[in-house]
Symmetry: C2
Subunit: 375 residues, 2 copies
């Protein structure tokens, strides 16, 4: 079934990697005409073969497209976004042009400085979506489902320009959020770019220890370092592009770490009772606890405390199914879920987050069904 198009076509997607191809697939599902272009003919052909749209006619032997795009989406690597946006503004004088780079201020400034009277047709944007995999082969029509899609509003945008990008976001299932470019960059510096640096620096230390030490690794280490597996080249581009916004946070962390190093030196030399040592450590951990309490809960609502029900799950096929089946029978919605595995044991610890009013009921229900619930 092809749903009615919420967005007029055709849409030209430039750059058929993970984001561009996923967007093509999602737009095609909603009946929007999609044209594809990539500097790599192989990447463009793969995207076409996956059903993300038809080729934009620049490769030899491909027919030229019949219609000009109403919207151009630049989904190239971040270091070539600006020239690609400028070329699109020039080539399609009636189109709105957006990009999906993860840093917005520098792109917007460079585009507006060079685009002259064509500038008002550019609207920057950033879908908060991605995967640890990359490339068209990892693309999926559902990639943007339910994700926040930041749209960088400005006063000088042409009439209908912001609405066009908003329609792009909602058509592929994302949730648009208007935010000036500078504000976006300041936000991602602290919610995304600094955490990436911290995860990478913590994980890098694992190279310095014998393998035996890693047998003590628990869920805390796994959680704090998971994103350290990301692509070095992509992140080098992102950190470079957002250097101004990341810098104050990185400097503050370096200063905090210097304080902790001094306190560790004092504790190692003079013993744990030396003046200021405990206070320095406790303050650092305390500030972190205050910070983490500000992260909003799911669905973008205010932070909200869920009650946790922790259940021991035998590590056999079907056990999680049985558990969730019985949670479903109890009619309780699971707000969040965490699974922790134990080294050397055929047993997992599942933590279910539920609204506090249902905690006792769910615990009793599960215990009655024979589950071991930790209280």
């Amino acid at each position: 079934m092809v749903a009615m198009a919420a967005l007029p076509g055709p849409v030209l997607v430039v750059g058929t990697g993970l984001l561009g191809t996923s967007m093509g697939l999602a737009l095609r599902e909603h009946g929007v005409e999609v044209l594809l272009r990539d500097t790599s003919p192989a990447a463009a052909h793969l995207a076409r073969d996956m059903g993300a749209g038809r080729l934009a006619g620049l490769a030899a032997g491909e027919p030229a497209p019949v219609a000009h795009p109403v919207l151009v989406v630049v989904a190239t690597p971040p270091d070539v976004v600006v020239p690609t946006v400028l070329a699109a503004l020039e080539e399609y004088p009636a189109a709105v042009v957006t990009d999906v780079a993860s840093v917005k201020g520098s792109v917007e400034a460079a585009v507006l400085a060079a685009a002259g009277t064509e500038g008002p047709r550019y609207v920057g944007s950033h879908p908060m979506a991605g995967r640890e995999k990359s490339g068209a082969a990892a693309a999926d029509a559902d990639l943007f489902h339910g994700r926040t899609w930041v749209i960088c509003t400005r006063d000088d945008v042409v009439r209908g320009g912001v609405a066009m990008v908003r329609a792009l976001a909602t058509t592929v299932g994302a949730v648009p959020l208007a935010m000036p470019a500078e504000e976006h960059d300041v936000a991602v510096a602290v919610v995304s770019h600094l955490p990436q640096i911290m995860a990478s620096l913590a994980a890098a230390r694992l190279d310095a220890v014998p393998g035996d030490a890693l047998s003590l690794a628990g869920q805390g280490l796994r959680d704090t370092t998971r994103i350290a597996a990301s692509d070095p080249m992509l992140w080098a581009k992102i950190l470079s592009a957002n250097a101004t916004a990341v810098l104050p946070h990185a400097s503050a962390v370096r200063d905090q770490m210097s304080e902790l190093v001094e306190a560790l030196e004092r504790a190692a030399r003079d013993g744990v009772g030396s003046e200021g040592v405990m206070g320095t450590f406790a303050r650092a951990i305390h500030r972190g606890r205050d910070g983490v309490s500000r992260i909003p809960g799911k669905h973008g609502g205010a932070a909200r405390r869920y009650a946790e029900v922790t259940v021991l799950v035998p590590d056999k096929p079907g056990q999680l199914g049985r558990l969730f089946g019985e949670v479903g029978e109890a009619g309780v919605n699971i707000e969040d879920f965490r699974m922790e595995h134990s080294a050397g044991a055929k047993l997992g610890v599942a933590t279910l987050s539920v609204v506090p009013a249902r905690q006792v009921e769910l615990t009793e229900h599960l215990e009655n069904q024979g589950w071991r619930v930790m209280q």
Copy 2:
């Protein structure tokens, strides 16, 4: 049903907080006689009332215990472990004494320096178990199930001393792992103490940003900062006690962060193309990727790559139950599970890790049942 005791009793537990009370509950389940003691009578009474054992007879009006303990487990806060261990060695000249503090080298050195000929009856240990909650009220007989329990072996331990602590660990369901104290401290410095510092410093920066910025928070931020919610006072004691082992890692991170700050300054001032900037960022992320790849997989085995099956899950009661029920029908074991929620959308993204050989089969099975699987 009371199972046969794997450990002779009585066991005296000194310190009836989360760990001590949980241990009492677990030992009682296996028929081991448990005596409880705490400097807070209220804490000791609560542990007794929960069924963790009977009082050791030091509180006024309580009968004295009839038997002397064969094993004393010191489960006090870390800063009073050493005097408590020494007092136990003196009070019970036939007992083996262990402690469960999370830093071992300094405790062992201090105990052996002061205990003289009684020293060989001391065996340090560390169950890798805990919760974000604390106190007897949060105790659970299953707390140690499947967790690694490090036992600090030495040449001078009395005959049967290590075996006694090993029996304690296995009786409560943990997996013993012999490791010298210094090696343990070096290991936890990098797999637990440094990650705590990094999570706390990253989370502390969230205090510096407007609430709007936090609406862009995703799973990466949540994972990297989850443990920042931990207890400041406990962590101040742990970091002080393990300062020598944490110091080189904290110093290395500070130096790395200084390099990144310099590169960020250069990028902010001279542009992304300035010499060395990209290389500095890419190397830092690359080193992290190498490090994280060394974390072993579940069950303590060698790191192993699982295939991921990513499924869109409507946010309604019973949906996870339906999903896991159908995974169970397919007879596929879930090696790991991650649930990601989307701001503003009534939809979650569930990522199931399975052995690669079952990925295609599970994907097809779920799609046939009407699930949207991202590929």
